[in-house]
Symmetry: C2
Subunit: 338 residues, 2 copies
């Protein structure tokens, strides 16, 4: 019998294990336009925290005592859906579970056979060829209009989105400064090609960012890709060149605490004519998916864009994986292997 | 002998009379490409505060012990500049003085004879047909892409820029909520056509803004035109509809104190996909001046856009006028008549 993680109470602040319970899913015969799947990989992502609130947000709230959802890679076990056959590998939204019956609302899509044949792993469609890689690509190139020669600052540069931003920017001949927490993550950001790093655990962000710009001989940043908010965002305002563009992807610093952000340099929006824009992958994806798959597929095939995976084993470990996102426990993409 | 206000020391925080001194200008024979002018009207504007700092800003800093500059309307007394003759009324940048010799660097432009013949006052080119009206028009229509049907929130709605924003927005069939300090200014904002007002001196901004939206049956704001920053900006983040656009024109709340802004709702940038952009009139003006003059001239001629002037008499009163901007002493455009 399939099991799924259910939300049992809404987190106040940082989520804990007490907010979740692993429960059996009801079994049912397969109806028309349904698939029975066995999940292989589950994605956990920071945006899911927002869906645990009751508040109006960009994705519908998770409901109490209902199974949660999220990106997953599964294998079709039984099919009454046209175009799908047992053995097919699919990307779908019925994550947080080891399998079960899914319908069209879970947006099943077969993984492209050519990509798999060329050696791309299935879980790549949960990161560089999926939500996190797409978020990086859209935010950097479309929202922030980053172009060769720009100086780019990216926070959470050793995270799933941030590490993709670093590599896409380097492939496009930009100068990149990445921020990450701790020596190991900073080292990896440099391995990915970052020209300089800021270790936010080692001291305040702004002086480190200013020193990195000086070392690189750059007067300021042209682009900021924000995954963090707070002190990082304020440092970006402080160092922005004229007509800088900020793509605001996440503010993991403030998802849980709800406190006011102290913005000392926000006023530079005017003299520097900064454009700051929040965005969500799903708004933009349909319009650019063809271009994204072609471009990102090429960058991955050439080795220009790689990914490290932090893998938790087994459905039981899903909440550990999710909670780890807010403790900075992941290098690259946080995944659960069933 | 002409006199001009000189900056004698850089203000720390709020400027005071001690930062300025009225001094004689050296007299000189007129050289080629120079005009001798007698000023009639001087403009004082909040942006001038930024030019009193030594810091890099969008306009060059005023220099200590040098005469200050700014928008002015003058009459040509003597001309060695092609195209100008005694008696011409001109707009130029040699303000903060009662007259003197000016060159091409002060950007003299003759006021259009047709507009004057049609009854437009010369000082209109210091407000609705000049810097403040142009700032309102560019920020609302170009930076914030406001369109008919939008709900617009504008701070400092009884100021020179804000009052123009209210009227342009109403002429374009938008719903407008204006914020101003005190009953008299709020009353004027309503007279200008605002659908609702927020009196920031009467209580916190956000509850008043939320109540106004509810009364008007609007779910939130589509556009925020910011002249103020701080609490007003945070209230705009709190009430922004999806894909709201913020044109950041000024942050008079924080020009002087340099304190951090406490932004509790900045995080809504992401779920609401807010676009915030700082802008400066002079960046945009050249490209759109023809369209601006035609459109704004029509709105003024039809009576759709009007202006109240708060007039101080005599060059000696210039610093009073300027300092009054930061005490909310002006209704509409603050001017000095020589």
């Amino acid at each position: 019998m399939a099991k799924a993680w259910h939300l049992t109470s809404r987190p106040q602040g940082l989520p804990t294990h007490d907010n979740f319970a692993l429960r059996d899913l009801p079994d049912a015969p397969l109806e028309k336009d349904q698939l029975r799947v066995r999940n292989l990989w589950l994605s956990v992502d920071p945006y899911m925290r927002g869906r645990m609130n009751d508040a109006k947000s960009y994705a519908a709230s998770f409901q109490i005592d209902q199974p949660m959802t999220g990106g997953a890679i599964g294998e079709v076990v039984e099919s009454r859906m046209e175009g799908f056959a047992p053995g097919d590998l699919i990307l779908h939204m019925a994550g947080w579970r080891d399998g079960g019956v899914i319908g069209l609302d879970m947006m099943p899509n077969k993984l492209p056979a050519e990509a798999l044949a060329a050696g791309m792993t299935p879980q790549t469609f949960l990161h560089n060829m999926g939500l996190t890689g797409g978020t990086a690509w859209i935010g950097l190139l479309r929202i922030a209009s980053a172009k060769p020669g720009d100086t780019v600052f990216v926070s959470a540069a050793a995270g799933a989105v941030g590490s993709a931003v670093v590599q896409i920017a380097k492939a496009r001949e930009m100068t990149v400064i990445g921020s990450a927490g701790g020596a190991e993550k900073c080292e990896w950001a440099l391995d990915l090609g970052a020209d300089a790093v800021v270790d936010y655990k080692a001291g305040p962000v702004l002086p480190q960012l200013a020193a990195a710009l000086e070392r690189l001989g750059k007067p300021g940043i042209d682009v900021y890709f924000d995954n963090v908010g707070g002190e990082h965002l304020d440092a970006a305002f402080a160092t922005a060149n004229d007509f800088a563009r900020f793509a605001i992807c996440g503010m993991i610093d403030v998802y849980n605490d709800g406190k006011a952000q102290e913005m000392k340099y926000l006023i530079r929006t005017i003299p520097a004519r900064i454009r700051m824009e929040g965005f969500i992958y799903t708004d933009q994806f349909i319009e650019c998916m063809e271009e994204f798959y072609a471009d990102m597929g090429g960058l991955i095939a050439s080795g220009a864009v790689t990914m490290r995976e932090t893998v938790h084993e087994g459905l039981e470990a899903t909440t550990d994986a999710f909670l780890g996102l807010f403790a900075g426990a992941n290098m690259g993409k946080m995944l659960v292997r069933i």
